[in-house]
């Protein structure tokens, strides 16, 4: 029985390790932030899930397993939250997704995503990006105050 558990847990650990490496390679190879997020989420779900499942088989029904379940739960909840927040902040800052046909994609994305508003060059430049972000806020507030008053 012990040998079956050992083999099973080795398979799970190996698969988890493979997915961790795949995720890291994806984060390096993908062309833009949104696809990199997609690659990074592999580590949070499959990579961590399989690794922790393998470790749980080794630990048996002890307090260690309970802690592992807690870690897994936190990772499962925090991963999507952090990923969603990164994507939202990137979109708000005007980082454009890398697309093959920019015109069609702009139509598909609707008003939330204005291609003309953010030229591609500024997006690549962190400093300009943040300055534009800082500049946007007071202007937006002033516009709102005008609309109200």
């Amino acid at each position: 029985m012990q040998i079956v558990i050992d083999i099973l847990s080795f398979v799970l650990l190996a698969a988890g390790g493979v997915f961790m490496v795949i995720s890291a390679v994806g984060v390096n190879r993908m062309p833009d932030i949104y696809t990199r997020l997609h690659a990074a989420s592999v580590a949070d779900t499959l990579g961590a899930g399989l690794l922790i499942a393998g470790m749980m088989l080794q630990a048996g029904p002890t307090l260690v397993t309970a802690k592992l379940v807690m870690i897994l739960a936190i990772l499962f909840f925090s991963g999507p939250v952090a990923g969603h927040a990164v994507a939202r902040a990137a979109l708000a800052a005007g980082v454009r997704p890398h697309v093959d046909h920019p015109e069609e994609s702009a139509d598909a994305c609707g008003a939330d995503f204005n291609v003309e508003a953010v030229p591609h060059e500024t997006v690549r430049d962190d400093v300009k990006l943040i300055r534009s972000l800082k500049g946007l806020r007071p202007a937006g507030r002033a516009a709102k105050a005008k609309a109200k008053g």
Binding site: D6, S9, F10, L13, A14, G16, G17, V18, M20, V21, S23, A24, V25, V27, N28, I33, R36, L37, A40, A43, D44, G47, A48, L51, I52, G54, M55, V64, K67, L68, M70, I71, I74, L75, S78, A82, G83, A85, V86, R88, A89, A90, A92, A93, G94, V95, V123, R124, D126, L129, I130, L133, K134, L136, R137, A139, G140, R141, A143, K144
Partner: protein
């Protein structure tokens, strides 16, 4: 067998640090930083099993929470430009 898992986590750590250094935008670095946090948690757990003392997993739980809070703080700063913002009102963008 934990050696293999440790090596895999270390390899992915190295690759993620490469992405964090390359950028190009702040958000790419953030994604890398978040994944490095996940990797650090898993490394801690795997090393605990490797050395035969898996009792330190409480620290891993704390790391997971800190990782989330750190990422969200940075992102809130980017979204609202201020950490004290209540977040109820959407900024114009």
């Amino acid at each position: 067998m934990f050696v293999a898992a440790t090596l895999a986590v270390l390899v992915s750590l190295v690759l993620l640090v490469v992405r964090a250094l390359k950028g190009p935008t702040v958000f790419d670095r953030l994604v890398a930083a978040n994944s490095i946090g996940t990797d650090a948690i898993l490394l801690l757990a795997v090393v605990g099993f490797l050395t035969g003392r898996p009792e330190f997993l409480d620290i891993a739980i704390t790391y997971a929470l800190l990782n989330l809070i750190g990422t969200l703080a940075v992102l809130k700063y980017f979204r609202f430009g201020d950490l004290a913002h209540s977040g109820g009102e959407e900024p114009e963008d």
